[in-house]
Symmetry: C2
C-alpha cells in the first residue's frame, strides 16, 4: 500500500482496534511497544502493523519501536477523534436509551447533543443529561446546531424516513442500529450499520461447524 493511496477498508477496520489496544496498554503503564509485541497481543503480524501505519506516515523510531502514548494520539487523530464531531440519537426505546446511558461518546470523540422521539412520555425529559425533543423539531435543531452523525435506533418501519430526513438536513454519517438496509443517494453521506443479527448468525455458523450435523445420528440407519 503506497502512502496516500486509497486506504482499504481492511485497514480502516483495524484502526479502531489499534486505538483500543493502545489505550489498554497505556492504562497498564506501558511506555513503548514494538510492532512485533503489538502484533502478538492482537493476533496480527508485525509486518501488517507496519504496513498499515505506513499508509499514514512514520510514527516509530528505528531500533526502539513506538511510544504508546504518541502512537495512540496519532491514530486518534487519523480516526478524527479531535474533530469535534457531534451526534444526535433518533429513537429512545430500550436500545437508544441503553446506548445513551452506557456508551462513552466523549472518549470516542463525539459530543452527544440531543435525542429525538415521538412518544409524549419522553419528549421534554432528559436521559443521562441529554435532552429529548420531539422528532418534528429535527430539522430546526440540525439547522441550529452542526450535527455530524445521526444514530438510528428507531423501529424498523421508521428507519428509511428518518434516514432521509437526516441526510436532507445535512448530517455526514448515519450510525444505523436498525435491521433495515438503508438506501442513501448522496455520495458524501456514509452509513455504518451495527447488525446484531449478522453478528449472531456468523457466530451460529462458527459453532455449528464443530458440531455433528443436525440429524446426523440417523445416518447410521441409512448405511
Amino acid at each position: 500500500m503506497k502512502r496516500n493511496a486509497k486506504v482499504s477498508t481492511a485497514v480502516i477496520r483495524r484502526l479502531p482496534r489499534y486505538y483500543r489496544h493502545l489505550s489498554e496498554l497505556q492504562r497498564t503503564g506501558m511506555v513503548r511497544i514494538s510492532s512485533n509485541a503489538l502484533g502478538k497481543s492482537m493476533g496480527l503480524t508485525a509486518s501488517q502493523i507496519r504496513q498499515d501505519l505506513f499508509c499514514f506516515g512514520e510514527f516509530g523510531q528505528q531500533g526502539y519501536g513506538y511510544k504508546v502514548d504518541s502512537l495512540k494520539e496519532e491514530i486518534g487523530e487519523i480516526l478524527g477523534i479531535n474533530r469535534g464531531h457531534t451526534l444526535i440519537v433518533l429513537g429512545t426505546g430500550n436500545l437508544g436509551r441503553a446506548i445513551i446511558q452506557n456508551f462513552q461518546f466523549s472518549s470516542n470523540g463525539f459530543h452527544l447533543l440531543a435525542a429525538f422521539d415521538i412518544n409524549p412520555g419522553v419528549v421534554g425529559t432528559q436521559i443521562a443529561g441529554v435532552p429529548v425533543y420531539h422528532a418534528d423539531e429535527l430539522e430546526d435543531f440540525i439547522a441550529a446546531h452542526p450535527v455530524s452523525v445521526g444514530m438510528l435506533t428507531v423501529p424498523i418501519m421508521a428507519a428509511q424516513t428518518m434516514c432521509d430526513r437526516l441526510v436532507n438536513a445535512g448530517v455526514r454519517g448515519i450510525w444505523n442500529f436498525t435491521n433495515h438496509e438503508l438506501a442513501i443517494r448522496r455520495e458524501d453521506v456514509v452509513v455504518e450499520s451495527v447488525h446484531f443479527s449478522d453478528s449472531l448468525l456468523a457466530l451460529s455458523y462458527m459453532i455449528s461447524q464443530r458440531e455433528p450435523a443436525a440429524g446426523a445420528e440417523t445416518e447410521e440407519e441409512l448405511e
Copy 2:
C-alpha cells in the same frame, strides 16, 4: 474457492447478509432471483455470489436462477439456524435488557433460556418472559440445560471472569458486547464481539476524510 475447502471469513460474513436480503425479498413476494439481480441489490458482483455459494453446494438452476424461498432455507441451514441453538444472557443492565426485549432470537435460530445477574432487585423477576437467576446459579443451570452461547452484557470489570466461567461450564460460543478483548484458551470456543466503539470510530474516520483537516483554516497564515 474449492468446495469443502476452508471457508474464508469474508464469505462467512456475507452469509448473514444473504440471509437477510433473501428474507426481505421473500417478504416482498419475489419468487426467483438471479445472481446478477441479487448482486446488484447488495452491491456485490454476480460472480462473487456464485463463487460464495459454490463453497457449499449447488442451489440454483441454469437458465432460471435461484428460488428465493429455497435459497434462503439453504443458507439458513448453512448458518445453523435449525440446530436448536440456545442462549443465556449475562448481565441485565440497560443493554442486556434492551436486547432481551427487542432482539428476535427465535428468528435467528436461538432459544433464549435465561438471564443472570447479581442485583437482588432483578434476580427472581422476568424480563420479557425470560427468568432472571442469580449468577451463582450459572454452572448448575448450564449443567442442567445445554447452552450453546453466552451473551456478555456485564460491566467490563466482570467480563473476563464471566467469560471464563461460561467456557468452563461448556458453552460453545461467547457473544461479547463488552469492550474487553476476551482471552480464551480453548480452541473449540468461539468469541464474536460487537464493539460499538470500533464501529463509531470507523464511521468517524470515514466522515473525517471528506472534511478539511482540523485546523486547516490556519494554513493560509503559514504561507
